[in-house]
């Protein structure tokens, strides 16, 4: 029972989205920088090196709305006398702008809302920092900003979309790994790209978040990956938590009724 299923409001037509084709990513992090610049996202103050390949951003968060993951995957050599090879996997992660968005469903203030482009955005003048969305997001995207108290995440550059511009990350991406457009068209483009990669022998190519029948009703920002989602730090099969909410409310109603009956019972026939 998500807000979207209840039809409040219906998703904007045509719905806008991101298709991030990781097979084209060169790990330049231009998207991370462009996002910070355009949206005035504060610096993450720690200047530590993680030692995790070239990734020192580590995860999405209140101050990182794009995050480029770097994976150095060992490829065992066919010839035992040769050295093993390394395969580079790079992927720019972002808020998925879910169809059934748990963050939006659970937000008690209405700060999170569905825009006319079908994206999910926080209204910063309303959020009271209750943190419910943080625990609800199955992808671990949205988070509370330290020292501010409110939550922040990718807005798909709401201000730019309104002016007919593409989001800053897509604009800055030099390889068109990040593609912005109408979701239906992006899905077609992605299908064609997977077929092409399979023909070229890239067996591991697969789409992630493109299927409207998955646990979150499909993502407004979906991906072409070259390995299992968990390799990139993505959940393999996320389900929106509110799918089970009708069951939960029923159980709570049963428990409440039981409590009331129990309360009557403890007074029944009690002598002192």
């Amino acid at each position: 029972m998500s807000v979207t299923q209840l039809g409040m409001p219906s998703i904007g037509v045509p719905r806008k989205g991101f298709f991030t084709d990781t097979s084209l990513c060169i790990g330049c992090k231009a998207c991370e920088v462009a996002c910070k610049e355009w949206n005035s996202v504060p610096a993450d103050t720690s200047l530590e090196l993680t030692g995790e390949s070239f990734d020192n951003t580590s995860a999405l968060g209140a101050d990182s709305w794009r995050h480029v993951a770097f994976i150095e995957k060992q490829v065992p050599a066919a010839d035992p006398s040769a050295h093993d090879g390394v395969k580079w996997l790079m992927s720019s992660d972002v808020c998925k702008h879910c169809t059934h968005a748990a963050c939006l469903d659970v937000c008690p203030t209405g700060a999170l809302f569905r825009t006319e482009h079908g994206t999910v955005v926080v209204q910063q003048d309303i959020c009271n920092g209750c943190g419910y969305c943080v625990s609800a997001c199955p992808y671990g995207v949205i988070d509370q900003r330290q020292g501010d108290g409110r939550v922040f995440k990718c807005t798909m550059c709401y201000d730019r979309l309104g002016a007919g511009e593409e989001p800053a990350c897509a604009k800055a991406c030099p390889t068109k790994s990040i593609q912005y457009g109408e979701l239906d068209e992006l899905r077609e483009r992605a299908d064609a790209r997977v077929t092409e990669l399979h023909e070229r022998g890239e067996e591991g190519a697969r789409l992630y978040g493109h299927n409207p029948d998955d646990g979150v009703g499909g993502d407004g920002a979906f991906f072409l990956l070259l390995d299992e989602p968990e390799t990139y730090g993505l959940p393999p099969d996320p389900v929106v938590t509110t799918r089970d909410l009708p069951v939960m409310w029923k159980r709570a109603a049963g428990a409440a009724a039981g409590l009331l009956l129990g309360a009557v019972a403890v007074f029944w026939g009690a002598r002192n």
Partner: protein, 310 residues
């Protein structure tokens, strides 16, 4: 950013980093809020029963206790917000998909009812209206004591969500146990029989349902046995069971036994909420609780698709 865990061999992750975000909630505020809310809600039921069964002392003390507990819980809730001054934004909308929104409305209904019935009782004004408010508070109190199970379960936190069928009952039992225990400690023995019964009945429900939750067989349930959460939950059972047995055997005869055992049951209830809270937090820090079950589900779906296609 949460610290990374050591990468393990049994499943794939991104440098062992968590997939989910750690809850922003503080244990004292939110586990404390759930405990105090449950205590208040169930205490209002005792108060309503007492007002119709000529137990004036139990009635007065329960009404004051319920008001105190709900005030403390409201303070904890507001204190936990990143922007406490915007608390009233909670009442901008009413959203059935948001247990926190529903909870805010339930609290705004319950709080004034509990307050009015306590005020009427203490000041001796409008006794009829006061009693009507007392009944209203008992009914709303049942919602206050149980919706918190949905509040935790309606998240991506593996331990909490996996327990979504059990949690409202665990919390209902725990609320009754704490209310009965505290009232048995506060009220004179001669009036406290219903309180003792509620404490014992609540303790039984709490213990049975939490054992069920801990043995669900879901991977995330192991967080209920390990580390700090495991310690808290084991302590909780010791207090709850010990206190309930003591109350059942000796609560009738001695005010001292009634007080000590009643408070023990209430302490067990509080420890339970902290244990469940900590277990949930632990399940967000290790990506295993996200990856392993979801990978199994995805593989199973793929097998079925293949079988259907072949």
């Amino acid at each position: 950013m949460s610290p990374r865990r050591g990468a393990t061999e049994e499943f794939t992750s991104y440098y062992g980093r968590p997939i989910l975000k750690k809850p922003t909630w503080s244990a004292v505020d939110i586990a404390g809020y759930i405990f105090a809310g449950g205590l208040a809600g169930a205490t209002s039921m005792l108060a309503a029963g007492a007002q119709y069964s000529a137990r004036p002392s139990l009635e007065r003390r329960s009404k004051l206790m319920a008001l105190t507990a709900i005030s403390a819980s409201a303070v904890a809730l507001v204190h936990d917000l990143g922007r406490p001054e915007r608390f009233l934004n909670m009442l901008r909308v009413a959203k059935p998909t948001s247990p926190m929104s529903m909870g805010s409305w339930i609290l705004s209904l319950y709080g004034p009812l509990a307050g009015a019935s306590a005020a009427s009782n203490v000041l001796g004004i409008l006794p009829r209206a006061g009693r009507a408010c007392g009944v209203g508070a008992a009914v709303a109190g049942a919602a206050v004591a149980t919706y918190t199970g949905v509040l935790l379960a309606d998240t991506a936190v593996p331990t909490w969500h996996d327990a979504h069928e059990a949690l409202p009952f665990v919390f209902a039992g725990s609320a009754a146990a704490s209310a009965g225990g505290v009232a048995a400690a506060l009220a004179p023995v001669a009036e406290a029989a219903p309180a003792r019964r509620m404490a014992v009945g609540g303790a039984v429900l709490e213990t049975v349902m939490s054992l069920k939750m801990e043995r669900s067989g879901k991977l995330s349930a192991e967080t209920l046995h390990q580390g700090r959460a495991g310690t808290l939950l084991r302590l909780s059972k010791a207090f709850t069971v010990g206190g309930a047995v003591g109350l059942a055997l000796g609560g009738r005869h001695s005010r001292l036994v009634s007080t000590m055992c009643g408070l023990a049951v209430a302490a067990g209830s509080a420890l339970l909420r902290f244990g469940v809270f900590e277990a949930g937090v632990a399940s967000t820090l290790d990506p295993k609780y996200v990856v392993v079950p979801q990978r199994e589900r995805a593989d199973e779906a793929a097998r079925q698709r293949e079988a259907a296609g072949a």
